[in-house]
Amino acid sequence: MTLDRRSLVAAAGALGVSTLFGHRAGAQPSGTPIKVGGTLALTGPLASPSLIHKITGELYVDSLNKRGGLLGRPVEWVLKDDQSKPDVARTLYEQLVTADKVDLLIGPYGTGAILSAMGVAQRYGKVLVHHTFGIPGLAKYDQQFHGWAIGPEPEKTVPAVVFDALAASPKPPKTIAIVTSKFPSVHFVSLGAREVAKQRGLTEVLFLEWDFGNRDFGPIAGRIKDADPDLIFAGTLGLEGNMLLDALKKIDYKPKHHFYHVPAPGPMVKAPEADGALSITIFEEHPPFTNNPTAAEFVAAYRERATRANLPDTSVETQAAASFSAWQILEAGVKGANSLDDKAIATWLRKNEVDTIQGRMRFNEKGNFGADYSRVKQVQNGKWVTVWPVAYAAPGATLQVR
């Protein structure tokens, strides 16, 4: 637990009354509910992170209604299960617009499903605020807005921030192994890392790609051991990071610096061999992030709800923060435009900035992406802590090197 005492007390106090996320209770909303429609992968391979988005959405809608809803009306979240299948997501968004006649859309989790939802939103001229879209270059629709502040070119900025962090460490790497899953949203960042590494003068000693779903990481670990790089840049998704670490452990190889792009945060932080592992984040539950009272309150509320839902990892990090931000953006858009008209909401969002728990977000660059809040985190003593940029580092935390 890394919440500072003041934030925690404030959050716990707020929870005792109700979950309002930094706002005062508003007048009781009345009238026909505003329906916000969306899907999540409640079943299928993406079900694990979707639980995070579900809990976050439920907390947010509860809070929103306690604060007076939207435009004085209560809000109802119409949530459907897209089964982790983009084609199902497309059908369900079509249903949400045409049959359920929802007023607003909130996007699913994951690049494939979001792309499907985006197509439907575009066909009907609806605003789509989505959670974690990994390839900004594919976001062509002008009324879509992201909840994950990774900037318009993460293939350049993600490797750059990681290399910056390591360049400032006592042992900057000179050689790099880039090993990557061919899953689209991590693969293109790994390819970008090759270019950025070259520009930074890092010598690439190994580049490997595997198909998503690979089960045998033994040979990949063996090749890494043979190459013995100063830095492993692993374009891994979900459990792949753990499987690679496990395979490295089995052949007694301890990486010097090792970075995992999209790890399963809970399993990775619990693996003893992951100590020192780096990853990217937009939010961790420690100061300075939790100095924001809304964030601190959300962290406490999320933990309580996730514990009740029997989730093994109850901490708030990138997924929950992006999801929470998506709801904040939707709320700000409707309130800013003072309307449910999609064009008016989109216009307002493009012209204005929105305060989120990640930071102030804007939507005025390529694909409506804007600020890049990618920060580097590291597993230290069984906890994820932000280590770079220094301004966002957990109190007393510095990048640890082997």
């Binding site: 694990s48 639980l51 490997l208 595997w210 089960r215 040979p219 063996g222 043979d226 459990l239 499987m243």
Partner: protein, 286 residues
């Protein structure tokens, strides 16, 4: 393509053998049901995962050593397997329909697992995870070694039972012609119950091995179907040793490909090998 060091090559082959042994262990029960009972029992994969989750839960709740769960889970699943076989018999499910019925049942079990343990990842943390032997420059992790020994031991035991015991011979006769076997005084229904129970028990053993080496998620159930089906088809339906040998061939071919070329070529190489071998040995598909 790069030529790997001898150490890397040998370690990769070992890695492929270990994974292939798990393919073979999962495929053993599946192939026996398919070949001898004429049922394509997709529920087998669900049993494997249910067993893995139960092993995880017993370790979490009672701190039960996963090896001891091998004494509890197989008998339990033997009964479950018999119950399913009784239901299949009771409703006269045909071979083709068994695929549909067991697919549906697998989806139900996946939902039950998700309901009980959530969709989040679960990892069985045991002292076995850190245990390994060294053989010169090679590493032999204990969980994988246990899987290999169980897979080889059970495959040999089933092979011997099928070959040298009355029950085994009766099961093979039943698979050839159930009506004639019954005319000779055999009890096909009773034997089918026993065989289904044994296959489910084998799934339970495979589940414990899976939990020892892999992080669990309900949606992973279907991720194993393709490669295990390949091992079963390549090894021969109803064969005791075939799935293990085929699993090892697939595992090693993938591992060696990953060691010498791009890991993304591994499935292409192994499935090309599968197609080639099936074409060369069409009789095994009967």
């Amino acid at each position: 393509m790069t030529w790997p060091s001898l150490n890397l090559l040998l370690q990769s082959i070992l890695s492929g053998v270990f994974l292939g042994a798990l393919y073979g262990l999962i495929g053993l029960g599946l192939g026996l049901t398919w070949g001898l009972l004429r049922q394509i029992n997709l529920t087998h994969f669900a049993w494997v995962f249910l067993s893995a989750y139960l092993c995880y839960q017993m370790a979490e709740t009672w701190q039960l050593d996963p090896m001891l769960s091998l004494l509890i889970l197989p008998p339990l699943f033997f009964l479950v397997g018999m119950a399913l076989q009784w239901a299949m018999e009771r409703f006269a499910i045909t071979a083709f329909n068994s695929l549909l019925v067991t697919f549906g049942l697998t989806a139900v079990i996946e939902s039950v697992i998700q309901g009980l343990w959530t969709a989040d990842y679960r990892r069985l943390e045991t002292h076995y995870s850190d245990m390994k032997f060294r053989l010169g420059p090679l590493f032999l992790p204990v969980p994988e070694l246990v899987t290999l020994l169980l897979s080889v031991g059970l495959a040999l035991a089933i092979w011997a039972a099928m070959r040298y015991t009355d029950l085994g011979r009766a099961l093979r006769a039943m698979a050839e012609d159930s009506a004639i076997a019954a005319a000779y005084g055999m009890n096909p229904k009773g034997m089918a119950l026993v065989l289904a129970g044994v296959c489910a028990a084998l799934a339970a053993v495979a589940g414990v091995c899976l939990a020892l080496s892999f992080t669990l998620a309900p949606s992973q159930i279907f991720a194993w179907v393709g490669v295990v089906f390949a091992a079963v088809m390549l090894g021969g339906l109803g064969s005791a040793l075939g799935p293990l040998l085929a699993g090892v061939v697939i595992g090693v071919s993938e591992a060696v490909t990953m060691a010498v070329a791009s890991p993304s070529w591994a499935p292409i190489v192994s499935f090309t090998l599968l197609i080639a071998m099936l074409l060369l040995r069409p009789g095994k598909l009967r």
